[in-house]
Amino acid sequence: MEPSLLPIDILDAQQGFPEALAACKDLDGLMRLKGVYIGREGSHSARLMELLKAASKERKRELGGAINVLKNAWEEALKARQSELEAARRQLATFGNTWDPDLPPPIPARGAMHPLNQLIDRLVDVFRPLGYHVEEGPEIETEAHNFDGLNIPADHPARGSADTFYFEKYPELLLRTHTSPVQVRTLLRLAPHIQEKGGIRFLAPGRVYRKDEIDPTHSPMFHQVEGMLVGHDIGMHHLKGTLAYAMKALFGPAAEVRFRPSYFPFVEPGCEVDVRCPLCGGSGCRVCKQSGWVELLGAGLVHPNVLAYAGIDSNIWSGFAFGMGVERIAMMVSQTPDLRLFFENDQRFLKTMGGLD
């Protein structure tokens, strides 16, 4: 075909077609290009059709052929590009329906039980298999329960207002200084039924108060867990066996206990109980001050006066009691440097130290 058959502007359009086609980056652009080249009205092919109509008979044939070639080429190229662009759009749509699982997921909020409560619950679990249940008493106590019933002499310094909090309007009331009054209450309550129950054994966890200034190792409020067992023919060997079991359950099978003589008015004999340092296993570290042992609790056989106060015959019944400071154990095990952290309640501390059960 001779190029002269077609007008100059059509030839220009033809020349620019591949570039214009390539410049179409989306379907909208392609539709506009399609309109320009092969649209029904005003397009290049529409003008060519007009040319063809106006052409002489002898030229019509030749011109028609040329126009057809040109139109077909445009149509095919446009169609091909259209499917390309449609495929790309489908591709995008597919991407839009995916979600990258590496994006940060929503994580359910994690709370925590307080480390001290967790430790208390743990101790309850440790003693549960031995038949201990939980007894609790009020934080506001009477002198009778907090001191008298525990064989603590009337002039004992702990009774003074320098050590114990008293109430403005009730001289006989105080904030309990230990969980031991729960012993007194429980013994008094159960004494009439002790025979049918076959003795008494319980754990008494709770908050206690002493008039100590707040510093890294002292707090006017802290927690204790007290344990008590009353039965027939109870001796120091039973105390040892019980605590040896409990410390193993708490710290693992390597835990050993050691008894040292000590004195508490409500027990006789009395002892302090050390446990093989759970951090170094006994080889010596900062926590056990190189001794391999850490002091964990005070204990002893229930003083006959304590049983007598509750009306229990110490010729028939005997028992043991032990008490431990929850904060002390928590600090020792966790190596928390400052007691105040337990009462400050910074969520960062609570989440690291407490956690879920």
């Binding site: 939980v134 909090f165 076959g198 006017p220 001796g235 066996g241 040896a244 006789e268 059960d357």
Partner: protein, 665 residues
């Protein structure tokens, strides 16, 4: 108590073969742990922890005596020559039972030669500085060596007879430390005819003290009742080496011997000449004998202990056996005030044998274990649930500042009943009536420290004064409090940021309460929702808080698995109703009215009505909001037809319309 190893070995030569470290172990095994070892001054000095019942070991001699019993060794002989006593040079009147024995002597001091240097060094190791006044230094040395406190008066300052008596109420004395003290009739004093010259067993008086100019001394070596001395030391906050030892019980049998030793030292150190020595009163009678109980011993020990072994151990402690028909009686030595019952003897026998020898056994279970209490379980389960719901458990003190707790708690009179008499400070003086204040402060603290979201709870008693109840004037009421503050979400692409303090944020907390089975009535009755506090110096609405008595929360069910409840296997139908309601329309009245209506017609097929969307937008008619209500129907015994559901929906819409709502087009 400080113990110099050299001086300890002088009392018990057998210790020379025992290394200090082994000695520490030995002391700990006897019940006297060594808290610190000081080797800095050319001597080894132990800081020994002695329990309150063992006044008898508060000296080198006393500790050596206990070690000697443990190791079955002999104490060294005390280099004492017993003085021949003469007539009283001065009347000594013991007017109180609190002083049964008063040994004394008068000496004329020679040309002062001073305290030997090794004694000065020893006193230095005891944390006392030598005064280079032989009467004072010798008295101090004897206290640390033998445990018997003594005192020297300047005899020329005394006026007339010596009287040991109760102080007169309001009587004054200037003690050696230069402080004027006002006495009560419960303070025991040594007095001359002009007035009190010493607080018995605690501290001497300033007016009669020994100085460098003193020429004649009167020595005192007495026994004072421990309770009296403790009370006086406590009353005047005057805790001295003497009151420490008398307060825990000195050895009355040691009084005269200590005086004799003191005289000997003054003769040697100061060229003193004895003018005369005499004693008023007598050594008090020993405590009643203790019946020996082999059965009890073996019960306590957990194994058989041969009687002969046990008795030998008691003898080593200084006990004497008084065989009586049928029962062996044990007489404790004069220095062991702590031995009074058979259990005490058993402890001593075990202590000397070593607690390490005690066997180990679990006691048999004699009765059935009791279940864990519901209260304890409820608290434990609540805490666990809340932790899993993303809340952190806090523990705060039980006492608060009375001023701050008044907001929301205006009953100041009521507060007086739960106020402490001797608080650590005003800010810790009130037993709290609410946990919310502490929770609020804790939330503010966390936000101040940069926490984005704060979720806290505390389970603790609050205190309610009920003065009309004589048995329990202050009731302790276990309470749960929760707080949710800051902003939630925004940590991942799927959860948008929401300010908890926004009005809608309260719903988050109510959702938690419902998850805990807090009854609706308790939730509705609660007044103090907004959590406002000071963060970054400005007062802010932080979020929401709530407090509920644990009594209001149901106990965990008794049954391990609840009773079976049939559920419908027929299809359930959900229909939505989009309503335009007035902006001030309350949800509950509308929902209750619709529920009531639908329930009467649909009966057991009606399951639930709930609002699942609230839409407020300017495109809605003015004063209106759109609620999307979802109703769910399911019949227990058959499949529902769409006609009947249509009917119920129409009746629901009717009710809504009657309350001013309209169907949203």
């Amino acid at each position: 108590m400080l113990i110099e190893i050299k001086a300890l070995r002088q009392e018990l030569p057998g210790l020379c073969d025992i290394e200090p470290l082994a000695l520490c172990e030995l002391l700990a095994s006897l019940g006297f742990p060594v808290d610190a070892v000081d080797t800095s001054n050319g001597a080894t000095v132990f800081e020994v922890d002695v329990t309150a019942n063992r006044g008898d070991v508060l000296s080198h001699r006393g500790l050596a005596r206990d070690l000697a019993a443990k190791l079955d060794m002999e104490l060294s002989t005390l280099p004492v020559t017993t003085l021949r006593e003469g007539a009283a040079l001065l009347p000594v009147r013991l007017e109180s039972e609190a002083c049964p024995l008063y040994a004394t002597a008068i000496l004329e001091l020679g040309k002062a030669q001073g305290t030997p240097s090794e004694v000065q060094v020893f006193l230095g190791h005891m944390g006392a500085s030598a005064k280079n006044l032989p009467p004072v230094d010798a008295s101090n040395e004897i206290l640390h060596r033998l445990g018997q406190p003594t005192h020297a008066f300047d005899a020329d300052t005394l006026q007339g007879a010596l009287i040991v008596r109760w102080a007169r109420e309001g009587e004054k004395i200037v003690t050696l430390d230069g402080v004027e003290r006002t006495l009560t009739h419960q303070d025991l004093v040594i007095a001359d005819e002009a007035g009190a010259i010493a607080l018995a067993g605690v501290m001497g008086g300033d007016s009669t003290k020994v100085t460098a100019a003193t020429q004649r001394v009167l020595l005192e070596s007495a026994f004072f009742d421990p309770r009296t001395v403790r009370a006086t030391a406590h009353r005047h906050n005057l805790h001295t080496d003497a009151s420490y030892r008398f307060g825990r019980g000195a050895d009355p049998a040691m009084a005269q011997m200590a005086r004799d030793l003191l005289v000997q030292r003054l003769e040697a150190w100061a060229g003193a000449k004895l003018v005369g020595a005499w004693t008023a009163g007598a050594v008090p009678p020993t405590a009643p004998p203790i019946p020996y109980n082999q059965t009890l011993l073996e019960r306590v020990a957990g194994e058989p202990i041969p009687r002969l072994e046990a008795l030998a151990l008691l003898k080593r402690l200084g006990c004497q056996m008084a065989p009586e028909p049928g029962c062996l009686q044990v007489v404790a030595p004069s220095w062991r005030h702590d031995l009074s019952i058979a259990d005490d003897l058993a402890e001593e026998i075990l202590r000397l044998r070593g607690y390490a020898k005690i066997p180990s056994a679990l006691p048999p279970l004699e009765g059935a274990p009791e279940p864990l209490s519901k209260d304890y379980l409820k608290r434990r389960q609540l805490a666990s649930k809340l932790a899993h719901l993303g809340f952190c458990q806090t523990v705060t003190y039980g006492f608060v500042d009375p001023l701050e707790s008044q907001e929301g708690n205006p009953q100041v009179d009521e507060q007086a009943w739960r106020t402490l008499k001797n608080p650590l400070g005003e800010e810790y003086s009130l037993m709290r009536g609410t946990l919310l204040r502490d929770l609020r402060d804790t939330a503010a603290l966390n936000l101040d420290r940069g926490a984005r979201e704060v979720r806290l709870f505390e389970i603790a008693p609050v205190f309610v004064a009920q003065p009309q109840d004589a048995t329990t004037p202050i009731r302790e009421c276990w309470t749960l409090a929760l707080a949710w503050a800051g902003e939630t979400g925004g940590e991942d692409p799927l959860t948008p940021v929401r300010k908890v303090s926004a009005l809608a944020g309260k719903s988050h907390l109510i959702g938690v309460l419902k998850a805990l089975d807090v009854p609706d009535a308790a939730i509705r009755a609660f007044e103090r929702w907004p959590l406002a506090g000071v963060v970054g110096g400005a007062k802010n609405q932080l979020g929401w808080q709530f407090e509920v008595s644990l009594e209001a929360i149901p106990d965990a069910a008794d049954r391990v698995i609840p009773a079976f409840k049939a559920f419908s296997r027929f299809p359930s139908v959900e229909r939505d109703l989009s309503l335009l309601v007035k902006l001030d329309q309350g949800y509950r009245p509308l929902a209750d009215a619709m529920t009531a209506k639908v329930r009467t017609s649909a009966r057991e097929a009606f399951q639930e009505l709930r609002c699942v969307d609230v839409f407020r937008h300017k495109s809605l008619p003015e004063g209106r909001q759109a609620w999307l209500l979802r109703l769910r129907f399911q019949h227990p015994a058959r499949t529902l037809t769409s006609e009947e559901v249509d009917g119920w929906m129409a009746s629901a819409l009717d009710v809504a319309r009657s309350l001013g709502a309209e169907l949203r087009g």
